[in-house]
Amino acid sequence: MGRSRPEFANRHAKLETDQQTSPAGTGYRSRGWMTRRGALALFGLPLAAIMSRPAEAKPLRIICLDDGLAETLLMLGVTPVAVADREVWEKWVVEPPLPPEVADIGTILEPNLEFLQQLRPDIILSIPYLDGIKPQLERVAPVTTIGIYTPDGQPYRRAIEATRQLATLVGREREGEALIAATETYFSDVRRQLALLSARPVYIVNFLDPRNVRVYGEKSLFQAVFDRIGIRNAWTGETNYWGFATVGIDGLATSDDARLAYLEPLPEGAGSTLTESPVWNAMPFVRNRSIMRLPPVLMFGTLPSASRFARLLAEALTAERAGG
């Protein structure tokens, strides 16, 4: 993954030079590769040149295979032509809403290549997890791989880089910087707002079944948000490369004053089974009534998910204090 960014930058720089030296731009017309800056520059060209290349006024046709990258694109005001696993969006990502015209190209591990080709994309956005199918994707259109979750475990820093990279790609650098700045400002606001509520640590989990949870810690996007809004993560144990550990719920008994925030969606039947379980009922956060239910947030997301998480957590913490 370390490679993909410089590679991208080079390719991009090269295209811009091409544009300056050959206004007709026939060399890359076949792929319709275009940036906004390039499009603006074109308005200065003679009319005949524009007439001969009507396709270039159109926005970039992007197919985005990762929901995290897609949410950033949407925040930049760009709608991808298609995403993978469309119906997952409403259950796991929720906002920003996905416009109805965005096509579904199948599962993330096996996007339909014939369909992909017929959509005539200018670029395909992928993640290192999908490097196995990169050779096939490259036969359809140039592939840009952007890694948020990598072995160095800094998803937030990488999400900022990805925002800049995507903004440059679609020619919306100003919007990109605005999104980054707004996210940072929002975190500072939340930090001030929660100053009085941040004494006790919080576990953030997804239920897999009534007995087991994914608990998020180091190397997760949620940890980065915790750090920025001044909340202590109750889970200090090891996590994998995606920033979570899978443990039984009794593994969450290590801290006496911790609160528990769990994310929807909840597996069917988990709620009722839990309320009957003596182990669950003996957990410190159950006896303290320090449990918060959060609506879904994409756990492997980018800046929009990070803000959404901060907002929902702040609301839950505030409501808990008001209620308790």
């Binding site: 096509a103 096996e110 290549l113 087991n212 069917e268 182990v279």
Partner: protein, 653 residues
């Protein structure tokens, strides 16, 4: 007696591990308090009372139930291969739960155990329906059970691949997690297991008579069908309750029953006592071992998968000591129609294959509905479709030939590369490459899979050598290897490692990643192996006649068998890389060719190869088009369309 000694050793190890695990959680001074009435304020006592102790009870109960069920199954079916998998019960329960999770989650609110139970009994009903007309004869039950099991397993795998975001919890359950949070599972299991065990206890005498041959038993006036049905029902109920409560813990039943027999429990009465004791000790020891490894209440090294990891090598080691008093029926004993003109049959299958090839290459849905590819679209579409179709064709053909060779070599209609563990070995090799090398390309994977297939073959051969490669030994070794591999996969998927999802995708036999280069590679390998195959046909005609007859014809039996097995390994490795180890083309295609009336080796081989290619090309086409733009892996579709065909043929005969 060996069995008692084994039981004592296992029991001792389990007890020691238990004491050690418990003292890690809670100082021994507080044990009595925790047992009698835990202090709710002390989390350690709560965990011992409501998690550690019920888990211990459940492991003992489940182990005993599985050991008992395994023994009864083996007795009733007169087959040392009988296990919860062989009668389709585990797969049926697993599938029912996966379906309920996706389609009717509200059903789960009534209790997941009832859903699993319904699935288990549905699978059993299907097995009975398929083997009823043969009076539930041992062979037909096992064959039907295997088909039902593979079928249910394929649908389950398709669901996981297509909708993996919902099924993380199924992985844990499917791998047999014994974790508990209260005594409810123990109290749920106790009366149910007790009732089934009591029923079995009342039937010891008739069950003993079922071990005799049919005529002997009938002459004593025993209603065979009735007792077989009752015995099977009781055993399946035991398995279903366990699967419903804690998930798939498949290996304990087979291991406990086999160990009891090897340990010297000769009479059924003894086996029915020893097998549950061994099963309980086995699962107890395994579960405590898991907790030693993962710390208290470690839930995520699934015990069910771990028992298979430990149990499979144990069985492999014990196999040469197993006295097989039971005869596996031979392929030649079935009377099947012979086609007068095999050439005509072959031409018909060939014509059908050509027609299907045209459809598979040209006709598919696009953004605007179903269309025939033509004009400008033809070339780009063919560039996607041709490699996949070629690879599917070659893989199907190779698996069919490998299956034919296995069935003729072992004289066992259940034999196939999948059953013999060679596919599992190839998959294992590929898995090691994927997890240990950062960037494993196709050539690396090919080499790794071939090494894996040959390694699996060597293990099988080493075990089979003492018995001059007797079919039963080879099959048992293969089943143990496959269980070992399945266990590894389950452990990996349950850890939630994202690479496991990639692996699972490949395991289901997707042709998605096939490009022109790998399609060319697979086709070339297939062509070379097919060109070598005529050399084997004379041997394949002779082998089913039995070892004495073959040797009297002046053939070196050992050398012949070795050569055939090497050929099978090469065919299997090359095809497994493309379509994964889950298809049962190798099992199915030779049967279909046989049912079409092709009985001599060469026509049957050509027929099987054509049928295998036909099924696989068809599977790939359906997989690419049925739920466009999503895709179903070709391996799964092959199982889904091949299963009913095989069932229909089984019923008709």
């Amino acid at each position: 007696m060996g069995a008692i000694l084994l039981c004592v050793v296992l029991f001792g190890a389990a007890a020691a591990a238990t004491l050690s695990n418990m003292s890690v959680q809670l100082p021994p001074a507080l044990w009595l308090d925790a047992l009698a009435g835990p202090d709710i304020g002390d989390m350690r006592q709560v965990l011992v009372h409501y998690a550690f102790l019920p888990r211990l009870a459940v492991s003992l109960l489940s182990g005993a139930a599985l050991g008992l069920a395994g023994t009864v199954l083996q007795q009733v079916l007169r087959n040392p291969l009988a296990s919860p998998e062989t009668v389709g019960v585990s797969a049926g329960a697993y599938l029912a739960l996966a379906l309920a999770t996706l389609l009717a989650p509200s059903l789960l609110a009534y209790g997941r155990e009832w859903v699993a139970l319904a699935g288990a009994f549905t699978a059993l009903a299907a097995v009975f329906a398929l083997s009823w007309h043969k009076g539930l004869s041992p062979l037909s039950v096992v064959l039907a059970g295997l088909v039902v099991s593979l079928y249910a397993g394929a649908i389950g795998a398709a669901l996981v691949v297509l909708r993996h975001e919902w099924l993380a919890s199924l992985f844990i359950w499917g791998a047999g997690s014994l974790g508990q949070q209260d005594w409810s599972t123990t109290l749920w299991l106790l009366p149910r297991l007790g009732a089934a065990a009591l029923l079995i206890g009342l039937m010891v005498r008739p069950l003993t008579l079922l071990g005799l041959d049919d005529e002997g038993a009938r002459s004593l006036g025993v209603p065979l069908g009735l007792y077989r049905f009752a015995g099977l029902a009781a055993a399946v109920a035991l398995i279903a309750f366990v699967v419903a409560a804690v998930g798939v813990i498949g290996f304990v039943g087979l291991a406990a029953a086999t160990l009891a027999r090897i340990g010297g429990a000769r009479r059924l009465g003894q086996q029915l006592v020893m097998a549950p004791l061994i099963g309980a000790s086995l699962l107890w020891a395994a579960d405590q071992g898991v907790q030693v490894a993962t710390g208290p209440q470690g839930d995520l090294l699934p015990t069910g998968a771990m028992t298979a990891l430990l149990g499979a090598p144990l069985l492999l080691w014990l196999l040469p000591r197993l006295a097989l008093g039971l005869e596996t029926p031979a392929l030649g004993s079935q009377h099947l129609p012979r086609a007068g003109r095999s050439g005509l049959v072959l031409a018909a299958i060939g014509g059908l294959l050509l027609l299907l090839l045209a459809l598979a290459l040209l006709y598919a849905p696009g953004p605007h509905g179903w269309t025939f590819a033509s004009g400008d679209q033809l070339q780009p579409l063919l560039s996607w479709r041709l490699p996949r179709v070629c690879a599917a064709l070659a893989a199907g053909a190779m698996l069919a030939l490998a299956g034919l060779m296995m069935q003729r070599l072992t004289g066992n209609p259940m034999a196939s590369p999948e059953v013999l563990g060679i596919s599992a070995g190839a998959a294992l090799g590929m898995m090691v490459a994927l997890f240990s090398l950062a960037d494993a390309g196709r050539s690396v994977q090919t080499v790794a899979a071939t090494i894996g297939a040959f390694a699996a073959l060597l293990v099988t051969l080493a075990i089979g050598r003492r018995a001059a490669y007797a079919p039963e030994r080879l099959l048992l070794a293969g089943v143990a290897l496959t269980a070992l591999f399945d266990a590894l996969i389950l452990v990996l998927t349950a850890t939630g490692d994202p690479r496991a999802m990639l692996l699972l995708n490949w395991l289901t036999g997707s042709t998605y990643g096939v490009d022109a280069g790998s399609a060319f590679f697979t086709s070339t390998v297939a062509l070379c192996l097919f060109l070598a195959s005529p050399l084997f046909m004379r041997w394949l005609d002779m082998l089913p006649l039995g070892s004495a007859a073959v040797q009297s014809l002046g053939v070196n039996l050992r050398a012949t068998r070795l050569l055939v097995l090497l050929m099978v390994a090469a065919l299997t490795a090359a095809s497994t890389l493309v379509v994964g180890p889950l298809t049962f083309i190798g099992l199915m295609a030779p049967h279909l060719a046989r049912r079409l009336g092709l009985s001599r080796a060469l026509p049957q081989a050509i027929g099987a190869v054509l049928v295998g290619a036909l099924i696989m090309v068809c599977a790939d086409w359906i997989g690419r088009t049925a739920i466009f733009p999503r895709q179903i892996p070709a391996g799964i579709v092959a199982t889904l369309i091949g299963g009913p065909v095989l069932m229909w043929l089984l019923r008709r005969s």
